[in-house]
């Protein structure tokens, strides 16, 4: 087993969320749910993070920011769309300024719906993301060995 799954460090970005999902993301790290049990740390720094948690929908103003953060993260990396707005645009999907879910900007690996997303769903999504991370880490290693 690779160590990628044992220390999933996350970065959280609020795209254009109403703050409902953001509060839940932070609540996941608090004593009640204690995501650090699984080695999860909120790094706040794309260069240190493995999992990118995005809340809220994508619009013209923040699409570049999301792409920039994604580009700064190092492989292996996984993207989790947190909340229904990040998944598809949610109730804002037909607003004139909203482009849609996070997958309009960057490749998304895990979709975690909810309005607001529940901490249990976030933990589930991160566990799912850790599986993807593991796969990507293995693929990276095989590629390295192949070279």
């Amino acid at each position: 087993m690779s160590f990628a799954s044992k220390s999933p460090w996350v970065i959280h970005y609020d795209a254009s969320s109403c703050n409902g999902c953001d509060i839940e993301v932070l609540a996941t790290l608090c004593p009640g749910f204690d995501a650090e049990r699984f080695g999860v740390i909120n790094t706040g720094n794309p260069k240190h993070a493995d999992i990118f948690l995005v809340t809220g929908s994508v619009n013209e103003r923040n699409i570049k920011v999301i792409q920039e953060i994604y580009d700064q993260m190092l492989e292996p990396k996984v993207v989790v769309a947190c909340g229904i707005c990040a998944c598809s645009g949610g109730i804002f999907h037909d607003c004139y300024n909203v482009l849609g879910g996070v997958d309009k900007a960057i490749p998304v690996d895990v979709y975690a719906p909810g309005c607001a997303i529940r901490p249990e769903t976030i933990i589930d999504a991160v566990v799912e993301a850790v599986g993807v991370l593991e796969e990507k880490a293995r693929a990276m290693k095989e590629k390295e060995q192949g070279e």
């Binding site: 160590f3 990628a4 044992k6 220390s7 460090w9 650090e36 080695g39 909120n42 706040g44 240190h48």
Partner: protein, 289 residues
């Protein structure tokens, strides 16, 4: 012969200090979590973190950053080896400072605004703790007649009996050296800080892993200095020193969890006042009384 002994010390430190430091860091995270009413990560979490960082894609903003960090890591191991093989305390202090300077230069080399602010703050921290470090070495020399840490093994009574003001001053700056809140201005263990990750902002993957290992080695060395105050000719004193070191480490974790970060002005002023009062008064007593 002496040189050979130091070399053996350095190799032994290079092997043992990361293991001990890693366990101490894990203990720190578990105890911190319990203090906050959480379960916390497994004891070996820092080890998993570093192994993961080593597996990440290697990338750097320039070619020299990783070299500087490697120098810093090697120097911190040399400093620890010199101290634990009974070598020169003053030399150990200077080398660990040089290691710190390489760390600062690595951050400056990235030209990133966040890393630069972190590097400024790290420089201020060096300014804040360095006088107390030197006073500690001088006071140790006055008490033992040698700068060699092995000199403590010939004491009739532990150094803390005559050096307790210096010990108190050292305890104050130890919080800065261990990077504990309220003095974790440049780089904190906790994410939710004003400066993202401060001095390590631009360091990633394997480079960040080296920073973590360096931090473990440094912690072991600093706690070794703490233990030095409680060593005397009796071999059982080593047990006492280990107990005191663990108690001090617990106290530092408690401080870390209970005090908010201070501004740099307070850090510098308080560290220098403590150094001047504790250090100079103690040295004055040793020299003239």
């Amino acid at each position: 012969m002496n040189l050979l002994f130091t070399l053996i010390g350095i190799v032994a430190f290079a092997v043992l200090a990361p293991c001990v430091g890693c366990l101490l860091a894990g203990l720190d995270r578990v105890i911190s979590a319990r203090m906050q009413g959480r379960v916390g990560p497994p004891l070996l979490q820092p080890y998993y973190d570093v192994r993961k960082l080593l597996q990440k894609e290697a990338a750097s903003v320039n070619k020299v950053e990783d070299t500087y960090i490697t120098c810093a890591l090697v120097l911190s191991i040399v400093a620890g080896g010199i101290f634990f093989s009974g070598g020169n305390l003053l030399f150990s202090i200077f080398i660990i400072t040089l290691s710190g300077l390489f760390f600062i230069v690595a951050a400056y080399s990235s030209r990133s605004p966040y890393a630069e602010v972190g590097a400024h703050r790290e420089t201020l921290q060096v300014m804040a703790y360095e006088p107390m470090m030197l006073f500690m070495a001088v006071a140790f020399y006055l008490a033992s007649g040698t700068f060699n840490s092995a000199g403590a093994l010939f004491f009739a009574v532990p150094a803390v009996t005559v050096l307790w003001p210096v010990f108190l001053g050292f305890m104050f700056v130890l919080t800065i050296k261990l990077r504990k809140s309220p003095f974790d201005l440049s780089y904190s263990h906790h994410a939710h800080q004003d400066l993202v990750k401060g001095i390590t902002t631009e360091m990633s993957g394997p480079t960040l892993a080296k920073v973590e290992i360096m931090h473990w080695c440094e912690n072991v060395l600093f706690l070794g200095w703490t233990g030095l105050f409680f060593i005397w000719a009796n071999p059982a004193s080593i047990v006492l020193a280990i107990v005191v070191v663990l108690a001090v480490y617990f106290l530092e974790i408690w401080i870390d969890n209970n005090f908010a970060r201070v501004k740099w002005q307070f850090l510098l002023r308080s560290a220098w006042i403590v150094a001047l009062v504790c250090g100079l008064v103690n040295i004055g007593f040793l020299m003239y009384l």
